[in-house]
Symmetry: C2
Subunit: 73 residues, 2 copies
Amino acid sequence: MASQTLDVRGMTCEHCVNAVETSVGALGGVEQVNVDLENGKVNVDYDDSKATVQDIRDAIEDQGYEVLSQQDQ
Amino acid sequence: MASQTLDVRGMTCEHCVNAVETSVGALGGVEQVNVDLENGKVNVDYDDSKATVQDIRDAIEDQGYEVLSQQDQ
């Protein structure tokens, strides 16, 4: 299991939280997604034999947000 | 036909635009809804024999936004 915290720009409201949680949560191997709207952080716990951090970044960017950085937890 | 422009607080993104346009647009008698996200304005053209401005205000507030004022056009 792996865990990443991504800094994401552009999430402004609960609709954005839902869009990110739903899209990342739908990826195979993702166990948990938590969005900290106030601080623009997305924490993801996932099975890194099934998903990559690039998959996660792509899912977030496909929703229209910018991933600024990522950090292993 | 009547037209109102409402000042609405809390709309921050395209998801919010969609939420307001969809909820107001679903009211009977509403012909057109346009949201100006940048300025926090919602313009509604409607048949005032079928809908009231209070119906419109309620639809917007049910989506979680605050209607600050309204103005006949």
